[in-house]
Symmetry: C2
Subunit: 139 residues, 2 copies
C-alpha cells in the first residue's frame, strides 16, 4: 500500500543506450514486457504489440491492475516505458526486470500517484469513506 492514498502508482521511465538489436525485435519486446508484468505479480489481461517499418516496437499490456506500455526507438537506443499498477503491486519490480533485459546503460524515472483519494473527497463534495484498491478487478 502506498502512503499517498492513491488508487494507482504510475512510473514513467526513459531507458537510454539499450541494446539496439533488442529494441528492434518485436517478439523479444513482447515476451519480455509480459515477463516484466509477471515480475510485479501482475495479472495479464490483454497484450498487443506492433512492429513499425523500418523499425521500432510499440506495445501495451492490460493487466488487472492497470497497464504497461513501451515504445522503442532503436535508432537512438531509447525506450519510453510506463508501468501503471494498482493495489499492493510494486511497479518497480517490473522496472528493474526490464532495465536488465533491455541492457539499458542509463535510465531516468518518475513515479506519479494516480487517483488521489483526497481529491475524490474534495471534488466529490462528500466523504466517501474508506476506499477500496480495486483488487477485485481481476477477471
Amino acid at each position: 500500500m502506498n502512503n499517498l492514498k492513491a488508487l494507482g502508482r504510475h512510473i514513467l521511465v526513459e531507458y537510454y543506450n539499450c541494446d539496439l538489436e533488442i529494441l528492434k525485435d518485436p517478439t523479444f519486446i513482447e515476451r519480455e514486457m509480459n515477463q516484466a508484468a509477471l515480475a510485479a505479480e501482475a495479472t495479464v489481461v490483454e497484450s498487443k504489440f506492433h512492429h513499425f517499418s523500418p523499425w521500432g516496437v510499440s506495445g501495451a499490456i492490460l493487466i488487472a491492475e492497470s497497464h504497461l506500455t513501451i515504445h522503442t526507438w532503436p535508432e537512438y537506443g531509447f525506450a519510453a516505458v510506463d508501468f501503471f499498477t494498482c493495489g499492493d503491486l510494486d511497479p518497480w519490480e517490473s522496472f528493474a526486470y526490464l532495465e536488465k533485459v533491455l541492457k539499458a546503460e542509463f535510465c531516468e524515472s518518475v513515479e506519479i500517484p494516480r487517483g488521489l483519494m483526497a481529491k475524490f473527497r474534495e471534488h466529490g463534495g462528500v466523504d466517501r469513506g474508506e476506499m477500496s484498491y480495486k483488487l477485485e478487478r481481476k477477471m
Copy 2:
C-alpha cells in the same frame, strides 16, 4: 513541434465526477477513446479494451504516434487517462474531446516530455545531429 525538443508529449489526466453510467460502458469507452485519438489526427494501429467485473473499463489504443490508455472507476466517477503522442500531433485535442464526452466536472492534468533529445546526446556521448520525430512510423 514542441520547444523542449523531445520525441514525444505525454499527458496524464485525472477526470473527476464523470457520468457514472458512461464509465461502466465498455462499448462507449472504446468508441470514444478511438474518437479522441482521431480528434488529434492520430493514426490508430491497435485498440484493445477490457470490461471488469462488476464494473470498470481498461483500454489501450496504439497509435502510429504512441498511445492512449484509460482506466475507469465508476464507483468514484473517476477515469485515469494517458495521451502520449509524437510528432506534430497535439494531444490536448484528445484531452478536450474526452473531457466533453465523459462529462467530467473537474480534471487535473500534467504534460511530461518523453525522450529528451539533449539527453540522448548526453548519455550517448555523441551528438547524433538533427533528430527525426518518427513521423515515418506509420505502417
